[in-house]
Amino acid sequence: MAALIEPHIPALRRFAWALLRDGTVADDLVQDCLERAIAGWHLRHHDGNLKAWLFAILHNLFLSNRRRSARGGMDRSLDDDGAAALMRADPTATLAAEGRLVWQDALTALEALPEDQRAVILLVGIEDLSYEETARLTGVPIGTVMSRLSRGRERLRRLLDGEVVKAGAQQALRRVK
């Protein structure tokens, strides 16, 4: 079991850290994930993909912890307040001419995306899971995975290329105010 699980731990840590951006909290999440994987080792599908199974446990735990910490509604989507807060928090963000925000740090820009887009970008683009595995893991149809990828990457590009993000228009539905 150890020999099968161990090779995936660096990637699990990377995914958790990219989601949480806090080393200790991320490792707590990975530890929780591994404990459950060990306890439920006999429950996995033998023909299934172990990597996808581990990532599914981690992602599920991430979602329930986030719900638990009662921050469920706080998708860090980039509305006006969000942009300002991010800029305060991120010293690499600079205010270019014409008041456009430019992020030099791809990672910080990633944080400005809605969580579902961020997860898909990480699972596909960084962790190399297939579109099918990502769809199964996040519980959405494959078409939704593709559209989250597409929208997420487009927003990321705008942030990093310093284009004006029309946050209000795109995110009006997301805000609960």
Binding site: M1, A2, I5, E6, I9, P10, A11, R13, R14, W17, A18, D27, V30, Q31, L34, E35, R36, A37, I38, A39, G40, W41, L43, R44, W53, A56, I57, N60, L61, L63, S64, R67, R68, A70, D105, A106, L107, L110, V124, G125, I126, Y131, R136, L137, T138, G139, V140, M146, S147, L149, S150, R153, E154, L156, R157, L160, D161
Partner: protein
């Protein structure tokens, strides 16, 4: 003009994403790149996305290459688990002494009762008439469909939930962990079973929001036996696997779930309840 058949399909958004991910067949990639030549603006955006993805990979690779902390070593986690289980067993043992004392008295009367009813109630047909199962299915139907308030106490307060239900049912319970099967606990509620016995319903949900419930209460009616039995309510599409273990009935119900999947969940629940010695007084 030089198009192979796969390049005649119009380029779609999913082709563009797969291009970024380098997951296109070579003929399809050629088609996309030919399309780029005619759509230079989109091509520029896509190239920008691809290079950003590379940057992101490079940054995150640093995290990947860090040494793994000792606490995340599988061997250490397995060892810690052994210690925790031993301590848990000692706790369970003290509870069991108490339960065995109470259970033994009930067991004598119970055994004679079930002997008398056993041949009149064959396993296969016991389901529809067994109140515990009918209640479980009905409770599933009512609460699993409830989007607004499916549970009374959310999983966020798991400790309180478990303590509360344990107190009300008079048995130490623990919510089975079904995460390895893809189901997370969303909470539970207290219900009144037939005859006024308190019953607990725990609700789980998978990534597709498909819900299943675990229903449990004291059940001395009819035959006992830890073998799984299948039951369904064809009118409602709710299916359940259930069993009775030492006077305690369990039913795992879901709607629209394949029977083998539901069975594997029922097995996981059964194994965990039995391992924890909850509420079986047989340890």
């Amino acid at each position: 003009m030089t198009a192979a058949s796969s390049s005649e399909v119009p380029v779609g958004e999913d082709d563009l994403q797969a291009w970024i991910d380098g997951r296109l067949s070579s003929s399809r990639r050629d088609a996309v790149e030919a399309w780029f030549a005619m759509n230079p603006e989109v091509a520029a955006r896509l190239r920008s996305m691809a290079s950003q993805q590379e940057k992101l990979r490079a940054v995150l690779q640093l995290k990947h290459d860090e040494p793994v902390p000792a606490r995340l070593r599988v061997a250490n986690l397995v060892a810690a688990r052994r210690v925790a289980r031993w301590q848990g067993m000692r706790r369970v043992a003290s509870v069991c002494v108490w339960l065995v004392a109470g259970g033994a008295m009930g067991w004598v009367g119970h055994a004679t009762l079930s002997d008398a009813t056993r041949d009149r109630a064959p396993t296969a047909t016991a389901m529809a008439t067994r109140p515990m199962v009918a209640e479980a299915i009905a409770a599933h139907r009512v609460f699993a469909a409830d989007l607004g308030r499916p549970v009374e106490v959310a999983a966020a307060q798991e400790a309180q939930l478990v303590t509360w239900l344990s107190n009300r049912l008079g048995r130490p319970l623990a919510a089975p962990d079904l995460l390895p099967l893809g189901y997370r606990l969303i909470g539970g509620r207290l219900l009144a079973g037939a005859g006024g016995d308190p019953a607990a319903q725990l609700m789980y949900e998978d990534a597709r929001r498909l819900r299943l419930t675990v229903y449990l209460r004291a059940d001395h009616a009819g035959p006992t036996g830890t073998e799984f039995r299948f039951s369904d309510d064809p009118a409602q599409g709710v299916t359940a696997f259930w069993w009775v273990d030492r006077g305690f009935g369990y039913a795992v119900s879901a709607e629209g779930l394949d029977r083998p999947v539901l069975l594997s969940v029922a097995e996981a629940v059964h194994r965990q309840v039995t391992q924890r010695g909850t509420p079986s007084p047989s340890l």
